[in-house]
């Protein structure tokens, strides 16, 4: 598997990146770790005449935590997420999810920004960031703008990012309460048959807030407000969970693939979400 020829650039700053994007338009693609793009180029299913490697662009590889906020540079890798002790304290769901992405080697290269910007319905980070209500910073020729994760995904591989923009940073409020990232897959390295991100807070014996998103069950990640609301003010017993699951099942739209038929995926989605809610609640 050999890719077609292309021009390669490794600009030293964002201005250089943006200039190249301006110059080459649709013919240019930015790349972080490359573990989504390179296999597609090797199969000659992605044609990229101008490839812009972001690795030398400064200021995109940091994780900072403070003032109730977490900032994650787009070039932070899954491995960085797992290894970051501060993050493990303040947003442990990120480590739990990152551990379930791909395999060790791929996690050294795969970045949060790449996982989010690619728009692949199989990627784990988009649903997770919707659950956490993250904001994405996009930088383009006209400056910087912020888009909510929950507004970012339009269709498979289609996002709110314009072709000449770069996703540079993810910002989220430090999450509170219990969490769970639950994923069923066929083996290490596979995409999810179904995956659920749940973040939940408790007020005494009752649920104070809940945010729920699922992955690879539609052409975009599915954050369901009503599923979360179904848990609020309940003791998260089986009826409440069933209600939350029912709302989620209303919103997902899985398709048949090698992982199985639609009925199976819907059933597994319910089972996985139930377990995620139970685990998150037990940690709340």
């Amino acid at each position: 598997m050999i890719p077609a020829a292309f021009d390669y650039y490794r600009p030293k700053d964002m201005a250089g990146v943006l200039a190249l994007l301006q110059e080459h338009g649709d013919d240019a693609r930015v790349m972080a770790g490359g573990h989504s793009l390179i296999p597609m180029m090797k199969l000659r299913m992605a044609e990229v005449p101008h490839l812009i490697d972001l690795q030398d662009v400064p200021g995109m590889s940091e994780i900072s935590i403070g003032d109730g906020k977490i900032r994650i540079g787009a070039l932070v890798t899954q491995h960085d997420i797992i290894a970051h002790e501060g993050l493990a304290q303040s947003a442990p769901i990120l480590r739990e999810a990152a551990m379930q992405i791909a395999d060790p080697q791929v996690r050294y290269m795969g970045t949060v920004g790449g996982n989010l910007a690619n728009g692949d319905p199989g990627n784990d980070m988009p649903g997770l960031m919707q659950c956490l209500d993250a904001q994405f910073t996009l930088v383009g020729a006209d400056g910087e703008r912020s888009v909510a994760a929950r507004e970012f995904y339009e269709a498979a591989y289609m996002t709110a990012r314009a072709d000449d923009e770069v996703l540079t940073e993810i910002t989220l409020a430090t999450p509170n309460g219990g969490y769970a990232y639950e994923k069923q897959k066929r083996k290490i390295g596979d995409y999810a048959t179904a995956a659920a991100a749940v973040q939940i807070t408790r007020d005494g014996s009752r649920c104070a807030s809940a945010s729920i998103a699922m992955t690879n069950l539609s052409d975009v990640p599915v954050w369901s407000q009503s599923a979360g609301s179904a848990l609020v003010d309940t003791e998260v017993g089986s009826d409440a969970i069933k209600a939350a699951v029912a709302y989620m099942l209303d919103e997902i739209d899985p398709t048949e693939d090698n992982r199985g038929p639609v009925a199976f995926k819907r059933h597994v989605a319910g089972a996985i979400l139930t377990r995620a809610i139970q685990r998150a609640w037990s940690r709340a």
Partner: protein, 164 residues
Amino acid sequence: MPEKLHIKLNVNGKSEEFLAEPRELLIHTLRERLRVTGPHIGCDSSHCGACTVTLNGKSVKSCTMFIGQANGAEITTIEGLGTPDALHVLQESFREHHGLQCGFCTPGMITRAAKLLEENPSPSEEEVRFGMAGNICRCTGYQNIVKSILAAASEMNAAKEAAE
């Protein structure tokens, strides 16, 4: 024809400098250009790990990296882990515990295991299995690979203690 890139690498302690097409994959640079043939091509799609090398301190699959991305990097392959007169503990341990059969996955397997033990010198069996899950072996069923790595970890820790 795209402009060739001026590449500088350090492979197993040796500096290399050459011009390369941007689309050249690191695995081909190593195997064809530099004749470092320890890393192998098994799947071509970053699933099997036979092409694993250590690049700037990370275990990476060299079939899924363009040469431009690796420009300036320090790379260690199986050939750089030990010498015939001074094998790496893992190289000894894989032989001792029958951690290989056809040998095709072995260079990537040992290279990855070396990095794993560097990051986690005393892993549990579960941590070894999880940390090695990016490398596929078709022959051994992994049981003796896991055994080899755990034994190497014990030996390396014992040697470290003895030195201290």
